[in-house]
Protein backbone atom coordinates (compact mmCIF):
# COMPACT_ATOMS: atom_id res chain seq x y z
CA UNK A 1 0.00 0.00 0.00
CA UNK A 2 1.56 3.32 -1.00
CA UNK A 3 2.23 5.96 1.64
CA UNK A 4 -0.19 8.87 1.67
CA UNK A 5 1.09 12.02 -0.01
CA UNK A 6 2.85 14.32 2.47
CA UNK A 7 0.88 17.39 3.42
CA UNK A 8 2.02 20.82 2.26
CA UNK A 9 3.08 21.83 5.75
CA UNK A 10 5.23 18.72 6.09
CA UNK A 11 6.98 19.42 2.79
CA UNK A 12 7.68 23.04 3.80
CA UNK A 13 7.96 23.24 7.57
CA UNK A 14 8.77 26.98 7.55
CA UNK A 15 7.02 28.40 4.48
CA UNK A 16 7.21 31.97 5.78
CA UNK A 17 11.02 31.75 5.80
CA UNK A 18 11.03 30.67 2.17
CA UNK A 19 8.92 33.69 1.26
CA UNK A 20 11.05 36.11 3.26
CA UNK A 21 14.35 34.99 1.72
CA UNK A 22 15.25 37.21 -1.21
CA UNK A 23 16.99 35.76 -4.25
CA UNK A 24 20.72 36.46 -4.22
CA UNK A 25 21.68 39.60 -6.08
CA UNK A 26 24.96 40.08 -7.94
CA UNK A 27 27.46 42.33 -6.19
CA UNK A 28 27.30 45.64 -7.99
CA UNK A 29 29.52 48.69 -7.70
CA UNK A 30 26.68 50.51 -5.96
CA UNK A 31 26.47 47.74 -3.37
CA UNK A 32 30.18 48.22 -2.62
CA UNK A 33 30.05 52.01 -2.52
CA UNK A 34 26.83 52.29 -0.51
CA UNK A 35 28.10 51.03 2.89
CA UNK A 36 31.28 53.10 2.56
CA UNK A 37 29.32 56.28 1.84
CA UNK A 38 26.82 55.33 4.54
CA UNK A 39 29.64 55.01 7.04
CA UNK A 40 31.42 58.21 6.01
CA UNK A 41 28.27 60.37 5.80
CA UNK A 42 25.41 59.50 8.18
CA UNK A 43 22.38 58.71 6.01
CA UNK A 44 24.51 58.96 2.85
CA UNK A 45 23.88 55.36 1.83
CA UNK A 46 20.15 55.99 1.86
CA UNK A 47 20.57 59.21 -0.11
CA UNK A 48 22.38 57.20 -2.81
CA UNK A 49 19.26 55.08 -3.16
CA UNK A 50 17.01 58.15 -3.19
CA UNK A 51 15.49 57.27 0.19
CA UNK A 52 15.50 60.95 1.08
CA UNK A 53 13.23 60.83 4.12
CA UNK A 54 14.93 57.86 5.75
CA UNK A 55 18.37 59.29 4.99
CA UNK A 56 17.47 62.67 6.48
CA UNK A 57 16.11 61.10 9.66
CA UNK A 58 19.18 58.89 10.04
CA UNK A 59 21.52 61.82 9.40
CA UNK A 60 19.62 63.95 11.91
CA UNK A 61 19.61 61.24 14.58
CA UNK A 62 23.26 60.21 14.29
CA UNK A 63 24.61 63.75 13.90
CA UNK A 64 22.49 65.07 16.77
CA UNK A 65 23.60 62.31 19.10
CA UNK A 66 27.22 62.89 18.18
CA UNK A 67 26.93 66.67 18.59
CA UNK A 68 25.10 66.36 21.92
CA UNK A 69 27.83 64.01 23.12
CA UNK A 70 30.48 66.58 22.26
CA UNK A 71 28.45 69.35 23.92
CA UNK A 72 28.24 67.23 27.08
CA UNK A 73 32.05 67.14 26.99
CA UNK A 74 32.14 63.45 26.24
CA UNK A 75 35.44 61.72 25.81
CA UNK A 76 36.61 61.05 22.25
CA UNK A 77 38.77 57.97 22.00
CA UNK A 78 41.87 57.85 19.85
CA UNK A 79 43.48 54.77 18.31
CA UNK A 80 45.01 52.66 21.04
CA UNK A 81 45.96 49.08 21.86
CA UNK A 82 45.69 49.24 25.63
CA UNK A 83 42.60 48.60 27.72
CA UNK A 84 39.96 46.58 25.86
CA UNK A 85 37.22 49.08 26.81
CA UNK A 86 39.29 51.91 25.32
CA UNK A 87 39.76 49.90 22.13
CA UNK A 88 36.02 49.22 21.91
CA UNK A 89 35.32 52.89 22.61
CA UNK A 90 37.56 53.83 19.72
CA UNK A 91 35.79 51.34 17.42
CA UNK A 92 32.41 52.80 18.42
CA UNK A 93 33.61 56.38 17.87
CA UNK A 94 35.12 55.48 14.51
CA UNK A 95 31.71 54.23 13.37
CA UNK A 96 30.55 57.84 13.09
CA UNK A 97 32.71 58.20 9.97
CA UNK A 98 33.49 61.73 8.92
CA UNK A 99 32.01 63.13 12.13
CA UNK A 100 34.75 61.34 14.06
CA UNK A 101 37.43 62.29 11.53
CA UNK A 102 36.38 65.96 11.73
CA UNK A 103 36.38 65.80 15.52
CA UNK A 104 39.94 64.48 15.49
CA UNK A 105 41.05 66.92 12.82
CA UNK A 106 39.65 70.00 14.56
CA UNK A 107 40.39 68.73 18.06
CA UNK A 108 36.77 69.18 19.20
CA UNK A 109 36.56 66.34 21.65
CA UNK A 110 37.76 65.96 25.20
CA UNK A 111 40.51 63.46 26.00
CA UNK A 112 39.20 62.75 29.51
CA UNK A 113 35.97 62.80 31.52
CA UNK A 114 35.80 65.81 33.85
CA UNK A 115 32.07 66.19 34.54
CA UNK A 116 29.36 63.76 35.62
CA UNK A 117 27.42 64.49 32.43
CA UNK A 118 30.55 63.90 30.36
CA UNK A 119 30.09 60.20 30.99
CA UNK A 120 26.68 60.39 29.27
CA UNK A 121 28.30 62.35 26.47
CA UNK A 122 30.93 59.65 25.99
CA UNK A 123 28.17 57.07 25.56
CA UNK A 124 26.26 59.34 23.19
CA UNK A 125 29.31 59.59 20.92
CA UNK A 126 29.95 55.85 20.94
CA UNK A 127 26.30 54.96 20.32
CA UNK A 128 26.08 57.51 17.50
CA UNK A 129 28.89 55.62 15.80
CA UNK A 130 27.24 52.26 16.37
CA UNK A 131 23.89 53.52 15.05
CA UNK A 132 25.69 54.84 11.99
CA UNK A 133 27.12 51.38 11.34
CA UNK A 134 23.59 49.91 11.56
CA UNK A 135 22.45 52.54 9.06
CA UNK A 136 25.28 51.68 6.67
CA UNK A 137 24.39 47.97 6.86
CA UNK A 138 20.75 48.85 6.18
CA UNK A 139 21.79 50.83 3.10
CA UNK A 140 23.79 47.82 1.93
CA UNK A 141 20.70 45.63 2.34
CA UNK A 142 18.77 48.05 0.15
CA UNK A 143 21.53 47.92 -2.47
CA UNK A 144 21.44 44.12 -2.46
CA UNK A 145 17.67 44.04 -2.83
CA UNK A 146 17.10 42.45 0.58
CA UNK A 147 15.01 45.39 1.72
CA UNK A 148 12.57 47.62 -0.17
Amino acid sequence: MPDPAPSKSAAQPFPHLKEAAAPPQPLTLLAVITPIVGWLVPGGGHFLHRRWGRGALLALSVSSMFALGLMMQGKVYSANFGDILDVLGFVGDLGAGCLYLMTRAFDWGHPSINLATADYGTKFIIVAGLLNIISAVDAYDIAMGKKP
Binding site: R54, L57, L58, L60, S61, V62, S64, M65, L68, M71, M72, Q73, L115, T117, Y120, G121, K123, F124, V127, A128, L131, I134, S135, V137, D138, K147, P148
Partner: protein, 60 residues
Protein backbone atom coordinates in the same frame (compact mmCIF):
# COMPACT_ATOMS: atom_id res chain seq x y z
CA UNK B 1 29.52 75.33 24.98
CA UNK B 2 28.62 72.85 27.68
CA UNK B 3 25.33 71.01 27.90
CA UNK B 4 24.33 69.50 31.20
CA UNK B 5 21.37 67.16 31.00
CA UNK B 6 19.88 65.25 33.89
CA UNK B 7 20.17 61.50 33.78
CA UNK B 8 16.50 61.13 32.86
CA UNK B 9 16.46 63.76 30.12
CA UNK B 10 19.68 62.32 28.66
CA UNK B 11 18.05 58.89 28.63
CA UNK B 12 14.97 60.27 26.87
CA UNK B 13 17.05 62.01 24.20
CA UNK B 14 19.06 58.83 23.76
CA UNK B 15 15.83 56.82 23.46
CA UNK B 16 14.41 59.17 20.86
CA UNK B 17 17.34 59.03 18.46
CA UNK B 18 18.04 55.32 18.96
CA UNK B 19 14.35 54.52 18.36
CA UNK B 20 14.32 56.50 15.10
CA UNK B 21 17.32 54.54 13.80
CA UNK B 22 15.96 51.19 15.02
CA UNK B 23 12.57 51.87 13.44
CA UNK B 24 14.04 52.76 10.04
CA UNK B 25 16.61 49.99 9.90
CA UNK B 26 14.72 47.05 11.39
CA UNK B 27 11.44 47.22 9.48
CA UNK B 28 10.49 47.32 5.82
CA UNK B 29 7.35 49.42 5.47
CA UNK B 30 6.62 52.87 6.79
CA UNK B 31 3.74 51.90 9.16
CA UNK B 32 5.88 49.11 10.60
CA UNK B 33 8.80 51.52 11.05
CA UNK B 34 6.64 54.01 12.93
CA UNK B 35 5.07 51.34 15.14
CA UNK B 36 8.42 49.75 15.93
CA UNK B 37 10.08 53.10 16.60
CA UNK B 38 7.33 54.18 18.99
CA UNK B 39 7.45 50.80 20.72
CA UNK B 40 11.23 51.04 21.12
CA UNK B 41 10.96 54.55 22.55
CA UNK B 42 8.40 53.59 25.18
CA UNK B 43 10.31 50.41 26.00
CA UNK B 44 13.44 52.48 26.58
CA UNK B 45 11.56 55.06 28.66
CA UNK B 46 9.71 52.53 30.77
CA UNK B 47 12.93 50.56 31.20
CA UNK B 48 14.65 53.65 32.55
CA UNK B 49 11.80 54.27 35.00
CA UNK B 50 11.73 50.63 36.10
CA UNK B 51 15.50 50.51 36.56
CA UNK B 52 15.37 53.78 38.49
CA UNK B 53 12.70 52.48 40.89
CA UNK B 54 14.57 49.19 41.24
CA UNK B 55 17.79 50.94 42.22
CA UNK B 56 15.88 53.27 44.57
CA UNK B 57 14.31 50.30 46.37
CA UNK B 58 17.61 48.45 46.38
CA UNK B 59 19.29 51.38 48.08
CA UNK B 60 16.72 51.65 50.89
Amino acid sequence: MTLELSHFSAALVFSLFASIVFGITQKDTRPEMIRYGVRCFFTFALGVLAAGWFMYLLRR
